[in-house]
């Protein structure tokens, strides 16, 4: 168990290096360079050349990479091209809202998917089952931006119940109730994206468990069906669901980019779009790097948690 975790951590190290190399190469494919972007176009070519030399931009790519990597280890991700603040600070301010949105959506997704998945499995081939599977398919087939715009149109513009975007009312006190009202729509849209995929897993996992002998034993000793399903079966059915939660993280990060743009949610997704349009490469690089680390560690945690939750799984 411990040796398994250590081995997983050791494997994660080269992958992490791979992530930095890939990330560095992507940004270096960008046309132009920071010097040309900032300097007055009338500057003489000699001066530009001198400045490039000073910034180390004429060094071979791999030397630039190791310099960048060295800074990365010291927690220095460079400065934003647009605000001139350290990138760590720019991105750090955006992490909170994104994690709030993702956390709420994940919770909401689980609340929607687990009961529906169980009902769907216990009442297989019923109307409810077909309906749930239909909803699940719609959830995975609906582009987040269309669902988001549709819900803004209905709940914000037509009914006027909820705000169209932002994290709190401008000039308001920013109380909890106000923040919650702003959170409902984006979190709901993201949770539908998650629930659509999760329902299928819960249903499939539950169906597999429901056919097992130990449940027949439980029924034979006279337990109520409710206890059999929700206590005996569910416990084992939930184990594979841990994996699904881990798999949802990259999807949520991607979904957040679009949702935050539509709902003007001041998180990392919105920052991604802003950085793309202002060609703020240091910030983009940091965002890419942070999301890759989040994905890598959520996969790692999933595997570790899985091995704790299910002692039947043996790792060499």
């Amino acid at each position: 168990m411990v040796s398994y975790i250590i081995r997983r951590l050791l494997i994660a190290i080269p992958v992490l290096f791979g992530v930095t190399i890939f990330n560095f190469l992507i940004i270096n494919m960008a046309p132009g360079n920071p010097v040309e972007m900032f300097i007055d176009p009338n500057t003489s070519p000699e001066l530009i050349e001198l400045r490039k030399e000073q910034l180390g931009l004429n060094a071979p790519l791999w030397i630039q990479y190791f310099k960048w990597l060295g800074n990365l280890f010291q927690g220095d991700l460079g400065f934003s091209f647009t605000t001139y603040e350290p990138v760590t600070q720019v991105v750090g301010e955006r992490l909170g809202p994104t994690f709030l949105l993702m956390g709420t959506a994940l919770l909401l997704g689980i609340i929607i998917a687990v009961p529906l998945g169980i009902l769907s499995a216990t009442k297989q081939y019923s109307f409810l089952d077909y309906f749930t599977m239909g909803v699940s398919f719609l959830g995975i087939s609906m582009p987040t931006f269309f669902l988001g715009l549709g819900l803004i149109y209905i709940f914000a513009l037509q009914l006027g119940w909820l705000p169209t975007g932002g994290m709190m009312t401008l000039g308001g006190d920013g109380g909890i109730a106000d923040r919650l009202r702003h959170l409902i729509l984006p979190a709901f849209v993201l949770s539908i994206l998650i629930a659509g995929r999760m329902i299928r897993f819960v249903r499939a996992s539950m169906l597999e468990i429901l056919g097992q002998d130990y449940l027949r034993t439980a029924r034979a000793k006279g337990l109520r069906e409710f206890v059999v399903t929700n206590k005996h079966a569910l416990r084992n059915a939930l184990i594979p669901i841990i994996t699904v939660i881990g798999l949802e993280i990259p999807f949520m990060l991607g979904g957040a980019v679009i949702l935050e743009q539509i709902f003007q949610w001041p998180g990392m997704g919105q920052l991604t779009i802003q950085s793309i349009f202002s060609r703020d490469y240091p910030t983009l690089m940091a965002i890419n790097y942070i999301s890759a680390i989040v994905v890598l560690f959520s996969n790692l945690l999933t595997d570790i948690f899985y091995s704790i939750a299910d002692p039947r799984i043996k790792y060499q």
């Binding site: 494997i11 995975i140 987040t144 549709g150 499939a204 990259p250 990060l253 743009q261």
Partner: protein, 308 residues
């Protein structure tokens, strides 16, 4: 499986419940027919296939179907639906219905093009990794881990924005970045297939490794690849639409269902001109839903246990 018995009635009339005569089918045809027969029983998958056919037909014959030229500007800007323009006109006066029809070309091109590229890459990498094992496998799988660490939508968005948004770039970039799930799938299949006796027999016969791998092992791994590619096509269409929606995909004046929704980010368009954004949104949902149903039908047909 030497022979397969299947209900021929159901092949011609998928919704029919009457029992037809049971036929015995020759060995060569049996596997394909059995899968086709099971697929035909999945009503939603059949419906999805019909809708996808219609969309493909629409894309191929767009110039003859579209009532107007999708690039032609008319005098009426943002006009609501009328007998002249069935779905109204956009903000520069182009016919929305014609743009909707032409946009199906973009979605299908990205869906088919990008998925074809990454399925080939993923299949080759996965097959080599699974067959040779050892350090090649270790290296390939770590590279796969690296690519899988980036949220797909995010990394495609960043790379497209760096290299310049266009239809071709989008197809190539999604194609070059999307292969890891296929590679993992193929690797798993090859790992189990290479233990089988017929493969050992091929090795004993002295057949060349590429021949064993690509002519004897891979054909048996094709079914799950096909299912994965189908779902991949649905996912790719959503990625294309999302990028185009954000302005980082297909560039106007070329119409894409995604970029037709871009204007709806302004609240006035969203409120006052629903004919501009509801139809393209519905087209995305319908096409992606159809393809997902086809994928589900294929998966059930190939592995009936998966759906129970």
């Amino acid at each position: 499986m030497s022979t397969a018995q299947l209900n021929m009635q159901n092949q011609t009339a998928p919704t029919g419940r009457e029992e037809g005569p049971e036929l015995q089918i020759s060995k060569e045809e049996s596997y394909f027919r059995m899968i086709a027969g099971r697929f035909m029983k999945h009503r939603l998958a059949v419906a999805g296939l019909i809708i996808l056919m219609i969309i493909i037909f629409m894309a191929i014959f767009a110039p003859w179907i579209a009532p107007k030229n999708p690039y032609e500007l008319s005098g009426s800007f943002g006009a609501p639906p009328s007998s002249e323009n069935i779905l109204g006109t956009d903000q520069v006066g182009r016919d929305v219905l014609s743009r909707l029809i032409y946009a199906s070309r973009v979605s299908l091109m990205v869906g088919i093009g990008a998925v074809a590229i990454y399925t080939v890459i993923g299949t080759i990498l996965g097959a080599v990794s699974g067959y040779f094992g050892g350090w090649i496998d270790m290296l390939f799988m770590r590279v796969t881990d690296v690519f899988m660490s980036f949220p797909s939508l995010m990394v495609v968005l960043v790379v497209v924005s760096v290299l310049g948004p266009s239809l071709t770039n989008m197809i190539i970039i999604i194609g070059l970045l999307g292969w890891p799930p296929i590679a993992r799938l193929v690797r798993g299949s090859v790992l189990s297939l290479k233990q089988m006796d017929y493969v050992k027999a091929s090795v004993a016969l002295g057949l060349g490794t590429p021949r064993i791998l690509f002519l004897h092992i891979l054909p048996n791994a094709i079914a799950p690849i096909l299912v994965q590619a189908t779902f991949g096509m649905a996912g790719t269409i959503i990625i294309e639409a999302s990028l185009s929606f954000l302005g980082m995909g297909v560039q106007p004046p070329t119409a894409s269902w995604g970029n037709m929704l871009t204007d709806a980010q302004s609240l006035t368009v969203l409120t006052d001109q629903p004919w501009l954004w509801v139809p393209p949104g519905l087209m995305i949902v319908i096409s992606v839903l159809s393809i997902n149903f086809i994928g589900d039908g294929l998966r059930d047909a190939i592995d009936p246990k998966s759906s129970k």
